[in-house]
Symmetry: C2
Subunit: 287 residues, 2 copies
DNA sequence: GAGGGTCCATCAGTGTTGCTTATATCAGGT
DNA sequence: ACCTGATATAAGCAACACTGATGGACCCTC
């Protein structure tokens, strides 16, 4: 169960081809073949069916483990190396599209103002990438978001130990097309909208809504990207409803159940330095 | 970052000695020395101080990662191998001391009654070992417990993906010595007890209480074991208070905040078979 | 302060591993 | 049946990771 072999196995399974994986990894096809054979011998069972290449039952199980495992390995390495890194003058902040709302933008501005020498690179990525990037050391700080009950933590993919601080909670609104019969309301209940058509988008996953408010929530259009602007255009064109934080645009406030758009700051254990300072600036001021 | 090296590193750090670790692992001292050197070269920084042997800052960080990482590696292997295992006639159930309460004992009895051929081995272990044993395949099913708000999941150490089902929630009582002035009450509020002396025991960690009910909860006696019988004796002798599930003995019901003793069933993804059957038997009957 | 003991680092030697290149084998399409 | 695009196997070689022996640092003792 050498991580080296695991990495190769993942590559083969993804590419559905030994030769393609070999090229991608910079090996010969023969090496890949031997590596897979070694894994299979070690575990004592076949992991891949050949021609076409696809994972067996056991291989599927291993694939589920391999990703997180390799991620944690990278996280461990990044964490160790960070202890030796000099306090840098530049750092990277990874943020999900809806995470950097006006409040946090303002705090970020203030934090940067206090450290004029610090160069900040902001990288907007998909929500589930934020934690992984922070864990792997590709970003120094991360901001993710999601929909939860007030003061409940977000559900994040497991990426190893890291500090999580809730930094913002905001009212949710139901985004509706302007001519929608409910658009004039002053408040809406989620239960009244289970039968409406909803946008299926990572920004507001229907699965999460079903968790929180029961079954229903038929998918209208299935939207894969995490671009807020596009989503709002889709809503306006009547493709379906969605929930957005109030600051992301007009909509009818969601009054029940009590749900909020929560933003969390993620970072590995930080030595004192610019990163820690910026993290403090992004955190809510102690009341 | 070969797991092999990681394992050696952990052994050395634990033994605080290269030679002792070498003996324990079945290597020569020279091999261990080279392995550590390889790790340090790879990461580019010293992980251990020598004479006496103790982890550096970076080494400490790596140690925190190494344990979970190796555990997950074992979990992955166990999970893959399980796909090939024939349905066994014997299985191991790991349970924390307070997890197998009367309700669950009864369900276990019923489950066993339905599968007379099945030999069940019950292993009572420390609470934080249960998840690890299930993940590593040393136990087929696990029962852990803890104190939470009703229907909130437990906080478990990360041991990789596994199924978690809440199987029992029970009222909590404050265990008091019989002659305690509050012993006659019909209900107690946790807030009224922050200034009392509490037993510090893994069965009811004071840290958790502070999380749930604010600061306070001074430690009286610090008890390391997880033996319920002993704890009750300590309480009776006036060493301090503690919370127990109602079924674990007499006490004054805790009325606020709303907290419960929750038991969760842990298992890896189970193929249909005796283990899955027993898991179903332990789960609460669908209402 | 010299000597012995303990412990880790280093070196040389050796068996094993894990790659590359070359070739065999297999499944499917024509 | 043959060709094609694919994976498996064989042989060779370089790098690696052990063992055993030796060297050097520290500690304890006398």
């Amino acid at each position: 169960m050498d991580p080296h072999l695991l990495r190769t196995f993942v590559a083969v399974a993804e590419a559905r081809s030994f030769s393609a994986a070999a090229e991608r990894l910079g090996y010969t096809q023969s090496a890949v073949s031997q590596q897979i054979a070694a894994l299979e011998t070690d575990l004592g069972l076949p992991l891949l069916r050949r021609r076409p290449v696809e994972p067996t039952e056991a291989g599927t199980r291993l694939l589920e483990h391999a990703g997180p495992l390799l991620l944690r390995l990278r996280a461990a390495r990044a964490d160790v190396l960070r202890t030796a890194a000099l306090p840098a003058h530049r750092l990277t902040l990874a943020a999900a599209p809806l995470a950097l709302n006006p409040v946090l933008s303002a705090r970020l501005a203030r934090g940067r103002g206090e450290q004029p020498r610090l160069r900040v690179r902001l990288r907007t990525t998909d929500r589930d990438q934020v934690a992984a990037q922070v864990a792997a050391g590709e970003a120094d700080l991360g901001l993710t978001d999601g929909i939860t009950a007030p003061s409940d933590p977000l559900r994040l993919p497991d990426s190893g130990p890291m500090t999580r601080i809730g930094v913002s909670e905001e009212e949710l609104v139901v985004a509706l097309p302007p001519d929608h019969p409910l658009a004039g309301r002053t408040g809406l209940r989620l239960a009244d909208l289970v039968d409406a058509r909803w946008l299926a988008t990572p920004l507001c996953p229907l699965e999460r809504l079903r968790d929180l408010a029961g079954d229903g929530f038929r998918a209208g259009l299935d939207h894969q990207g995490e671009d807020v602007h596009t989503v709002r255009n889709l809503v306006a064109a009547g493709h379906g409803l969605t929930l957005l934080p109030a600051s992301a645009g007009p909509g009818v406030p969601l009054v029940a159940p009590r749900l909020v758009h929560r933003v969390e700051l993620l970072h590995p254990s930080l030595p004192p330095g610019p990163a820690a300072h910026l993290a403090a600036a992004l955190s809510p001021p102690p009341s």
